[in-house]
């Protein structure tokens, strides 16, 4: 006779007590937010951890997805210097530690850069409409629910109609102390015909193991131009999740670039919804591995309207025994005719022991579309390497130059030269170690 056991719920360090304690700190938050958090926590508890047989976790190492040994609400560490200039908002262990005010001119024109906590008080309708409002269905529902349950603060960027916000708005999120669990969140709302660039920098203040479970919501209204750069540089012991949701309205353009450097294991899920004709989403990513790091990137480009465009280019440079997984899906809804969708994952194998998996996919329900996808893995071209060496450049440096050359195609897509250079310098630090 077999016995039925109740499905095991796994919450790790994120117990009901921890949740209640965290909730108690958000006394002034509006009821709708607290309700969302409670619902999310229930969802988190009810969902199982990913299983080996889950298609959305194919090739991923699921045995290392632990929720144990972390603590929420640890003492705020010192914010780490950002390579992107002074941060408008700097968070350490989920708490705002410093801020640089916006220039008066932008404030006068209605640009808002503030915390989610403050936005919940002053701009509650905007927050309600855009904050974690999109579906989450790329495999990490349990972790996304955990994020929604525990996120108590983050960045809120709002650019009103017709306003250009100028220089990048920089936000840093740091984790400090062994076992620190952080839930970074950045929400960007770019209204009609506005223009804004936002940079998120994720960094550890020490080399301890952290748990980072972050999300960003990007919303580009009619004709808006939104550029978003996320540079992930957590400690090498960190388990990291990042969830992106992008909504692109009519004739709007969103360009996002994710740089992945840190973490022991990093999962990145990105969802772009091309919601109205003329919408364009450019999805870019660069990853540099070392040691036994695992970078797991899952993307979804959903074309919901005709004449929309998406262009994805994810490049990985693999060293040592690292592993990357790219799984991308282009979905074209039945009435999204004249869709132009592109998806490319390219891997530069700098080590024979590294492993790159690529799972490109298409799901097309319209008949007049142009969709291309592809994945390549290649090694350093020995003739290029010899060419550089014949000029006196040592092999390690030659490979570094060739890797930067490989990345340049992505970095060159950025219009901002200072941002381009800052990212280059950040990537260089990974080669210097």
């Amino acid at each position: 006779m077999s016995t039925l056991t109740a499905p095991q719920t796994i919450v790790g360090s994120f117990t009901a007590e921890a949740f209640a304690a965290q909730l108690a700190k958000q006394k002034s938050a509006p009821a709708w937010w607290l309700d969302r958090k409670r619902a999310a926590y229930e969802k988190f508890v009810s969902l199982p951890l990913p299983k080996r047989t889950d298609e959305s976790w194919r090739f991923s190492n699921i045995t290392t997805l632990t929720l144990d040994g972390f603590n929420v609400g640890g003492r705020a560490g010192i914010s780490t210097e950002a390579p992107f200039g002074p941060a408008h908002l700097a968070f350490a262990n989920n708490t705002l530690t410093s801020r640089t005010p916006l220039v008066a001119d932008l404030v006068g024109r209605g640009v808002i850069v503030t915390t989610l906590a403050e936005a919940a008080e002053k701009h509650t309708e905007l927050l309600k409409a855009h904050f974690m409002a999109q579906p989450q269905k790329q495999g990490s529902e349990k972790f996304a629910a955990l994020h929604t349950a525990f996120v108590a603060d983050g960045a809120f960027v709002y650019v009103p109609r017709g306003v250009e916000a100028g220089a990048p708005i920089v936000i840093t999120h740091s984790a400090a102390g062994a076992g620190a669990a952080v839930f970074p969140h950045t929400l960007v709302v770019a209204e009609e015909n506005s223009k804004v660039t936002v940079v998120d920098y994720f960094v550890s203040a020490d080399s301890a193991a952290h748990f980072a479970c972050g999300a960003n919501d990007l919303y580009a209204g009619h004709g808006a131009q939104l550029t978003y750069v996320a540079a992930q540089n957590w400690s090498r012991e960190t388990l990291s999740f990042q969830f992106n949701s992008t909504v692109v309205r009519r004739d709007a353009r969103v360009q996002s670039l994710n740089l992945h450097l840190g973490s022991r294991q990093a999962r990145h899920e990105s969802l772009s919804q091309l919601a109205a004709p003329g919408a364009f989403s450019e999805m870019l990513a660069l990853t540099v591995t070392e040691g036994a790091q695992e970078f797991d990137q899952r993307t979804l480009q959903i074309h919901q309207a005709p004449n929309t465009k998406s262009d994805l280019l994810y490049k990985n440079a693999l060293r040592d025994t690292a592993k990357t997984i790219f799984s991308g899906l282009i979905v074209v809804d039945p009435d999204a005719q004249k869709t132009d969708a592109y998806q490319s994952n390219r891997n530069l194998m700098l080590s024979d022991a590294a492993e790159a998996q690529s799972l490109p996919g298409l799901e097309i329900q319209a008949n007049d579309v142009r969709c291309t996808h592809g994945a390549t893995s290649s090694r350093i071209d020995p003739e290029q390497e010899f060419y550089l060496q014949s000029r006196g450049i040592r092999q390690a440096m030659a490979d570094e130059l060739l890797t930067f050359g490989f990345f340049e195609e992505v970095l060159n897509r950025l219009a901002s030269e200072p941002l381009h250079d800052a990212l280059r310098e950040l990537i260089k630090t990974k080669f210097k170690k």
Binding site: F386, Q389, S390, R391, G392, A398, L402, G405, E408, N412
Partner: protein
């Protein structure tokens, strides 16, 4: 004064022997031309000396100022003073000429020593002016989308910046129209002097109208079979390689 000695050199690609006992000594200040039909081992010779990993030196010696370079990696040979101007230079997408040359200069400095960027650019621009190369060139990716002439000028610019003791120039004239050829030859002639030795590899006499060699060697089946002064090139041009072939046949008959 420097000296590059190639002594009874044998080079193989895989199992196949290409260079079969070649001996040649070049002093700084000299320009030697090696001529020969296609497939006789001219390019193999230059790549093997530069240290290309696909070419195996099975016997013989290459000495730079009396010291063997055969145990050195390609980058060490370059830093010792050798330069190979490629027949078909590689395209390096995403790496600008300025960054590439900067890395090559940096590699020649002691560890921990940083290149003086402003002095570097000053020097780069002066060399470019000397070679009549547009400054916009430096921000372009190395050889990417370059015309045949631009690729060769890029090679000459690199040679001018790196100031080698010896330059091995592999079919520098291939794929060039007469204007491009003249520009490249002018570049080499500008650098010609007591501190540089040149080994000019060419199929045609044409290049030697512009870069007048001190010595001319005819290469055939992996060896030098005839040496002389610049008049040998003219003789070859007039009589063709069949003349050498017949002479050789007569000698070995």
């Amino acid at each position: 004064m420097s000296q590059l000695e190639i002594k009874n050199l044998h080079v193989a690609i895989g199992e196949k022997e290409i260079v079969k006992g070649l001996t040649l000594t070049i002093q700084s200040g000299e320009v030697h031309a090696i001529m020969g039909p296609n497939g006789t081992g001219k390019s193999t010779l230059s790549k093997a000396i530069a240290g290309h990993p696909d070419y195996t030196i099975t016997s013989g010696e290459v000495l730079l100022d009396g010291k063997s370079i055969l145990e050195l990696e390609a980058d060490e040979r370059a830093r010792a003073g050798l330069f190979l101007a490629f027949q078909y230079p590689s395209e390096i997408p995403g790496v600008s000429i300025a960054n590439f040359l900067r890395a090559a200069q940096q590699a020649r400095m002691a560890e921990g020593e940083e290149l003086d960027a402003s002095a570097y650019y000053k020097r780069l621009y002066s060399k470019m002016d000397l070679l009549k190369i547009d400054r916009k060139f430096t921000s372009r990716s190395v050889n990417e989308g370059f015309s045949g002439g631009e690729k060769k000028r890029c090679e000459i610019l690199q040679m001018a910046m790196l100031e080698p003791k010896f330059s091995l120039m592999d079919e520098t004239d291939s794929g060039l129209d007469i204007d491009a050829l003249r520009i490249v030859a002018d570049g080499v002639n500008t650098m010609r002097g007591p501190n540089l030795g040149v080994l000019l590899i060419t199929h045609y006499q044409r290049l030697l109208d512009y870069i007048v060699p001190d010595h001319v060697h005819v290469m055939w089946d992996g060896r030098i079979v005839k040496s002389g002064d610049k008049s040998l090139a003219l003789e070859l041009e007039a009589k063709g390689y069949d003349w050498v072939k017949k002479e050789l046949a007569a000698a070995t008959a």
